[in-house]
Symmetry: D2
Subunit: 351 residues, 4 copies
Amino acid sequence: MPSGKIPVGILGATGIVGQRFVQMLEGHPWFELTWLAASERSAGRCYGEAARWQLKTPLPLRAAAMQLSVAAPDGAPKVIFAALDAAVAADLEPQFAQAGHAVISNSSALRMHPQVPLVIPEVNPGHLKMLECQKWRRASGGFVVTNPNCSAIGLVLALCPLHQRFGLRQVIAVTMQAVSGAGYPGVPALDILGNIIPYIAREEEKMEEEARKLLGGMDQGGFRPAEFAMSAQCNRVAVEDGHTESVAVKLGTAATAEQVLAAWQEFRGIAQQRALPSAPTQPVVYLEAGDRPQPRFDSGLDGGMATSVGRLRPCGVLDWKFTVLSHNTIRGAAGAALLNAELLKSEGYLD
Amino acid sequence: MPSGKIPVGILGATGIVGQRFVQMLEGHPWFELTWLAASERSAGRCYGEAARWQLKTPLPLRAAAMQLSVAAPDGAPKVIFAALDAAVAADLEPQFAQAGHAVISNSSALRMHPQVPLVIPEVNPGHLKMLECQKWRRASGGFVVTNPNCSAIGLVLALCPLHQRFGLRQVIAVTMQAVSGAGYPGVPALDILGNIIPYIAREEEKMEEEARKLLGGMDQGGFRPAEFAMSAQCNRVAVEDGHTESVAVKLGTAATAEQVLAAWQEFRGIAQQRALPSAPTQPVVYLEAGDRPQPRFDSGLDGGMATSVGRLRPCGVLDWKFTVLSHNTIRGAAGAALLNAELLKSEGYLD
Amino acid sequence: MPSGKIPVGILGATGIVGQRFVQMLEGHPWFELTWLAASERSAGRCYGEAARWQLKTPLPLRAAAMQLSVAAPDGAPKVIFAALDAAVAADLEPQFAQAGHAVISNSSALRMHPQVPLVIPEVNPGHLKMLECQKWRRASGGFVVTNPNCSAIGLVLALCPLHQRFGLRQVIAVTMQAVSGAGYPGVPALDILGNIIPYIAREEEKMEEEARKLLGGMDQGGFRPAEFAMSAQCNRVAVEDGHTESVAVKLGTAATAEQVLAAWQEFRGIAQQRALPSAPTQPVVYLEAGDRPQPRFDSGLDGGMATSVGRLRPCGVLDWKFTVLSHNTIRGAAGAALLNAELLKSEGYLD
Amino acid sequence: MPSGKIPVGILGATGIVGQRFVQMLEGHPWFELTWLAASERSAGRCYGEAARWQLKTPLPLRAAAMQLSVAAPDGAPKVIFAALDAAVAADLEPQFAQAGHAVISNSSALRMHPQVPLVIPEVNPGHLKMLECQKWRRASGGFVVTNPNCSAIGLVLALCPLHQRFGLRQVIAVTMQAVSGAGYPGVPALDILGNIIPYIAREEEKMEEEARKLLGGMDQGGFRPAEFAMSAQCNRVAVEDGHTESVAVKLGTAATAEQVLAAWQEFRGIAQQRALPSAPTQPVVYLEAGDRPQPRFDSGLDGGMATSVGRLRPCGVLDWKFTVLSHNTIRGAAGAALLNAELLKSEGYLD
């Protein structure tokens, strides 16, 4: 490629997360978008017509003019970002991996697969070693890497520094999730205007199992989930972007408020050490104001890649309680996959 | 009074809760509204002009034409509903009680006072006996009775049957509270449109201490708060009416889902036994649908006096988790006080 | 039928308007719901399972238990309310009329048909005479009657008294329409939260042509549309129920504000003269407050069947300007059809 | 000043518009913020504490640390941006002008004053000549320049090219205005959630008179308002930022759709010719998509300084109808004043 950049494609390019990939890849220093695929009925149309663009920055002109390909490995670039419904992903992602592609997936289909790493670069980059055990990798060099659910990632970023320093014993998280997390058309206006829906299908299970896999270890026998107890309750609210969570934790060893705050503020990961292009300067930012974080004002922190935390105070049942906020389609989806791709590149997996 | 009804007045009649009192007293079988008072600058004006009516049913004509009195005991009826700001209530409510009035208060000023009962008729009607210890009662026959905070009452109604049958050891509640809970003008639109505010001043403390007083006992030495551990996290959301809460509990003795459901569905109190006019048929109603209760659809259940519960499921940290919804200005404020008044009447305190 | 009531059915029973029919027919003094039909995939299921009930009053138990029929004339009662998508209606409504049914339709398919009356009982009851010219009527006794679009009916009710007394020369109407007007799932939350969509497909054309048919005459040659100039601009807003319209009119003869107000307040139609069960006491109600009507507070006036008007003031371009509000799924859909059915019954068409 | 920039101050710095000034002046190439003033009770506090920051970009650190001054001319820089309530402005702005300051005001107090220019740089820069007639100018060199109301500016920018090419005879505009237009705390959430308020005090009058002054001429005798007929109807909606308007116009000479579109697209003013720093590249941008402009997606066009127009189509009453959108606190307030300041500087008035 004349630019010297790595050509990349997007599976599921027309949806909300697909659009975020297009937006975030525009002007990316390492990757160049060369291929877009969506459902069969869109193949052959140009992206600008097929996608109902939902973002506030204009649709990049070059992407608008690109023709949508059929969602099959033939002719696709080696590096593929996947933003597919779980049912479709379960079928397509292995096909692409089998055909030699690096599949960097935001979908839930393979997140809990015993050979598929579920990775947040700041949290568990070492899980990438599991790629060597994937049958696709051995067959063709292809592989699948996943990032967590949009409601799990902000929580796990806030929990990780506490887990590393003090250990986690119990976690209770109640979410208030934005409508963009349900895709487009997603949540009907009639269901959510002036309302709350106290249920999101499969979301609580995903949060609980993904958090333990992410914060767990890995050995010869595979992934070993972390052993803390975890309970999630998920609600949908009339917010556009940004999942807010009221969290309570019990730690392994006692920690003062100062120690908890220091754990968050000093937390850095491999993404920051290597200065990956999409990495936030500080992955977890504590906001001092007594009524923050708030989704309308704080979701976009550091380009939507930083997780904000606020209102640390003692909990009458567990040890500490606090509020976490994370942008669900940036840090919680496209940005998470993009940062995984940057980590893979820095590790030599995309050469 | 020609109607044979008990004349009643409202302190703080022009606010959101004051308006609910006016609405709920219209056509009441036992009480007749004869006196309205608001802040000094409104005194002398007619209610229809001074109150910016916020409810969907029309302002009752008789109330609209009533002249606002000065907020002082002189000339006020014996029975007074109070919907005052805490700072004002701390001053005025004792004045009225001292002057011989039965003050049935929705304000927070005296809720935790060692001689003031904080009462939900279905939960702790026996606490009314403390009235005999009030100095006002002994001096003039007057007294003060309070009802809980709008976010505490629905929670406590849902907890009470569990506490009675199984005992409560730990409670974690995360609220998503409607804007009407902040009064009028209350929450600015700019703060809440498409947003969540993860903080409500003093609300978490109120929930924690009021829940324990309500579910606690009483003996010679005074009120004995219940001993369970409790932690509340309070959020404001863009909902008009109805506080939704994600709750997790640890019980004293193990209970199956069936036993928990039966506890809720069989729960009745003195309000139901005596068929008090404003009592809901069933104080706690479990909704079977997997995505209920929802504030826009379920807040008005049984005239807004029933608390709805849904989504009972095991909790990975405590024992059970579920969602609670209660109408914050009806069951959570004016309706709570009105039901307390009906209980007082049925006990002979208003004769 | 033991009740002595007229059995009626609903085509399109599971949608938003179908649900309103179910709600409004509960306890109706003249009609009894005996038959419900929806799309093929729902046939055979019980209504309570197939319909995602969206209204705030509970789903009536009897309706919940009814089995959904196939949408075909066989076995259907003579009187049918239709709440179908236009494309489906264009096919099914003539089938039912041909088979002898009285089809009282809310859909747009046949509204502008030269032999199909488009009727508001207070406005143009005489248009029913056109039923005699319908081929279906002559063949089998069946017929089709329609009511206007949800954005046209409130406007036309407000215009009719002015048209009758002063004549209309020019009308400009800008609508701000509720999301329930788009059905369910209808408008995606992502499209409308904190937003306005300045376009509703085919809505402006419907408003313009329907207003002229409704306020027009009828003679041997058919319907003669009224001749005033009309321009509509339609916007979708984040409101649940109630279409608000900013209207400006030029009259045929000059009228003072008092004369305009009197025209509205004195306006009564055959629906009021005959006291039809669903007729509002006063079809057009002028609200004196300077900032009304407002959809959240005034849409439900007189059970949602009254149109409210406010803010009459001189227009710098035409003669007068004012604001109109009408409940879009009650007076603008199910209630409109129900009132038409009551008119038909009172005229002997349903015997 | 070491930077070589012109020092500027803000009167009314803590409000919504004051905050926009702070935001837009950060990094400005010509101006440097050196002075902030707010109400008396804030004087002496630092800005970061006194202002409840409402914008999505972080409060600039230098401004946060600045101490609020008393709102009096002593010690204030020569160039003052004013974002005051009208009543306060009527008193303070003449004081500052009298004391030799260039007062560039967003408030309504003096907009219709016979010697005060009401200016949009792209529309009527020549009106600045009236400054020479101001008594303050003659006394001390000080003066007052104003920009229009937030609902007038987008409309007038869209009308100006039509007025210049074809003449305007009649204009009807119906607005749907964002809550930020009412300042902070402004509109209570209880008034606007799921609602529309069809009234904004004095707004219709302002739109009508300001539009005619802006598009009018100026001669020895003063400003001559343009002579077209104009009618505005103003509504408040649940939108955060961006005023949307449904507009209909009758032109002086007939124009085709192509001619109207060309008028908008070719429209440039002195702000563009001189490439003033805050000038949008194209003041009026026509959006081709059939359902745009929409406030959530298009308010921020060209930094919020461009006005977007869409849906041009024939009007059944006047000639053409279309939708206009403009950011109310950027192009409609702080950005308007800042562009006026840049025009004044380019004309030598700030030397």
